[in-house]
């Protein structure tokens, strides 16, 4: 169903507000700190919602619904195990060092804590990665808008790039953060009625679960495989993800999750923009509350889609097939939007999708322009220029970054395998990162040489592990096994989790070993950067229940409860 006048009007209202927010903020940008860190002035709840939204690009929304259809309720491991605990750790334990050290970016923290080469390595790989991720998501958007709105690929890519460019040029990070807040509410209001209608169509949660038992048994799994999270994780062959509890807890829950949420500047930047230390610490904790409820908004639609395809409800929704005959899980949410929503609501649903595409892109662009300007340009190209010069450089980097993303979108459109290889490479680079930060923040003896060697060896270990293993049933090549075949994993996901575990462990061991034989930095230089040398924060300006440790414990307890309810 293509949109009609009313739908276009609703999408138009959104575009007017997105650009209007950028326009209204243009006079507030006077210094580079205003542009890159919102002048450190954002209230905690705004930073918190932006923290969540920056990660909630459309690829995440579409991908999580697809996984909901493919794997069922166990997909919520990516939220309840793979996100919330790490967000709590960031707020309670790590934010004091990021915010307290006055670092303007994550790579800059590495420079303060370790040395120039560790920062350089992290900055360059991060900058490259953000530009390409934004290009890949732009490419996905081009394909989807073509299907839903009938726009051609060029129009979709250039139009969304132009909108994002304008509002970031005008208002910098504040613009991006404000628009992420708009997007957060659009996603909630756009998708909640979809879940309501889908569930009603299938006869509520019970109707959904009953159909999911057919989905599970038809594929040879136990009846509850699609509606439980942990009960089938004892053995990788008994759940559709093909993973076991240890891989989930260690690989996803510890290494990958902490590596992303605690070190990725895309999200950490939002907390760094908060107006005070206390607000910065509460940012990820506030974000964790909606995060733990998001499975009901983005995973359940996928479960509804597959359940309905297996055994339709009254309205007869079924998932479309791909040209090769398999079900097209990626279309769960888009197809449900056009199946259940009448004109009017359809406009709101499409706006929510568009919003998530654009703020995902904006998140990447604002992280890129900051790291480029502070950690690459100011560090290596032009050291002593005026603040005004760096502000202008940030604007140039915004144009340049969006240009590169558009180029990457076209490359992805023509050479899909290049993008697959790049994503694989980024996964190798990211895998060991958390070990470096963990040792950096909590072990004062860790040295710059140790960190640098650890990162290189961790990345090499990830590549080596990938080259020596293969998911069962795959051909050697991009999926792994390109060196030799030592071990076959039950699934690609299990292989990913174990690649991360190996990379983390090697990085940890090498960093410790090299640190012990190199000269440590003077303890005076590490005050405010390392846990044992930094005075404990006394949060007395807030009521006891609003203190980070209490909020964090509450969030963890609620998440544990969700795990138990959907065991």
């Amino acid at each position: 169903m293509h949109p009609r006048e009313i739908d276009w009007v609703i999408m138009g209202v959104y575009f007017v507000f997105v650009l209007g927010v950028g326009y209204a903020l243009r006079r507030q940008v006077k210094t580079s700190t205003d542009y890159f860190l919102s002048g450190r002035s954002i209230p905690a709840w705004v930073a918190g919602l932006a923290f969540l939204s920056a990660n909630l690009g459309a690829q995440e929304v579409i991908g999580m619904a697809a996984s909901g259809a493919k794997y069922g309720m166990a997909t919520s491991h990516f939220y309840w195990v793979g996100a919330v605990p790490a967000m709590v750790f960031l707020g309670v334990f790590m934010m004091p060092f990021y915010y307290g050290s006055q670092a303007r970016s994550v790579p800059e923290y590495l420079k303060l804590r370790f040395d120039e080469k560790t920062r350089g390595l992290n900055a360059i790989s991060f900058a490259t990665m953000t530009v390409f991720s934004s290009g890949i998501s732009m490419y996905a958007m081009g394909l989807l808008l073509n299907l839903l709105l009938g726009w051609d690929f060029d129009t979709s890519v250039w139009l969304s790039a132009a909108v994002v460019l304008i509002y970031i040029l005008l208002g910098g990070l504040t613009s991006a953060i404000y628009n992420e807040v708009l997007q957060f509410f659009l996603i909630v209001f756009g998708f909640a009625p979809l879940v309501f209608l889908g569930l009603k169509d299938l006869g509520g949660w019970q109707g959904l679960s009953a159909r999911l038992t057919h989905v599970a048994t038809a594929q040879g799994f136990a009846p509850q495989a699609w509606s439980s999270t942990w009960s089938q994780m004892g053995d990788p062959t008994s759940n559709p993800m093909g993973v076991e509890w240890f891989g989930v807890a260690m690989g996803l829950g510890f290494v990958l999750s902490f590596g992303y949420w605690c070190t990725d500047f895309l999200v950490v930047q939002r907390a760094m923009a908060a107006h005070s230390m206390s607000a910065a610490r509460r940012t990820p904790l506030i974000a964790a509350v909606p995060k733990m409820l998001f499975p009901f908004l983005v995973i359940v639609p996928g479960m509804i889609a597959i359940a309905s395809t297996q055994h339709t409800g009254a309205s007869g929704f079924v998932l479309p097939h791909k040209p090769d005959g398999t079900l097209n899980y990626d279309l769960s949410i888009p197809m449900m939007l056009s199946h259940y929503f009448p004109h009017g609501m359809l406009g709101l649903g499409l706006t929510a999708l568009l919003a998530s595409f654009m703020s995902g892109m904006a998140g990447n662009v604002t992280a890129f322009n900051t790291v480029w300007t502070y950690d690459i340009y100011q560090a290596y190209i032009n050291r002593g220029a005026s603040d005004h010069h760096y502000l202008n450089m940030g604007r140039v980097a915004t144009v340049f970054g969006i240009g590169l993303s558009v180029a990457a979108a076209y490359v992805a459109n023509h050479f899909n395998n290049i993008m697959d290889m790049l994503q694989l490479l980024f996964a190798f680079v990211n895998a060991p990162l958390f070990a470096t930060f963990l040792l950096g923040m909590f072990w004062k003896r860790a040295t710059g040489h140790g960190a640098f060697a650890g990162l290189l060896c961790g990345t090499a270990a990830a590549a080596l592990h990938h080259g020596l293993t293969l998911p069962r049933g795959s051909v050697a090549g991009i999926k792994g096994g390109w060196l030799a075949l030592l071990h076959a994993y039950p699934s690609e996901m299990a292989q990913n989790f174990w690649t991360a575990i190996w990379a983390f462990t090697v990085c940890l061991v090498v960093t410790i070993a090299v640190s012990l034989i190199t000269r440590p930095r003077a303890e005076n230089d590490l005050v405010g950067l390392v846990y044992s040398l930094t005075p404990r924060l006394r949060e007395t300006d807030r009521a006891w229940y609003a203190r980070p440790a209490v909020l964090g414990a509450g969030v963890l307890a609620a998440t544990l409860l969700l795990n138990l309810i959907f065991w």
Partner: protein, 68 residues
């Protein structure tokens, strides 16, 4: 902060709410077959209106508190 995000948020959702409620009120009921017979535009439009009004109230109250 020069601009309180609750104001644009409130105005945008009020406008979207008015659009949906109005369209839901005047549109042909036939189009609601796909939403299981529920005039989802009307009801969800009212929800958006309520949210928009709430955001505007909070934003205005904060602005009032600052000037006094």
């Amino acid at each position: 902060m020069g601009l309180d995000i609750r104001i644009p948020l409130g105005v945008m959702f009020t406008i979207l709410g008015l659009l949906l409620t109005g369209f839901g009120f005047f549109s042909d009921p036939v189009i609601y077959q796909r939403s299981l017979g529920i005039d989802i535009n009307l009801w969800w439009g009212l929800a958006l209106l309520l949210f928009g009004a709430l955001m505007l109230c909070l934003g205005w109250r904060a602005a009032g508190g600052r000037t006094h």
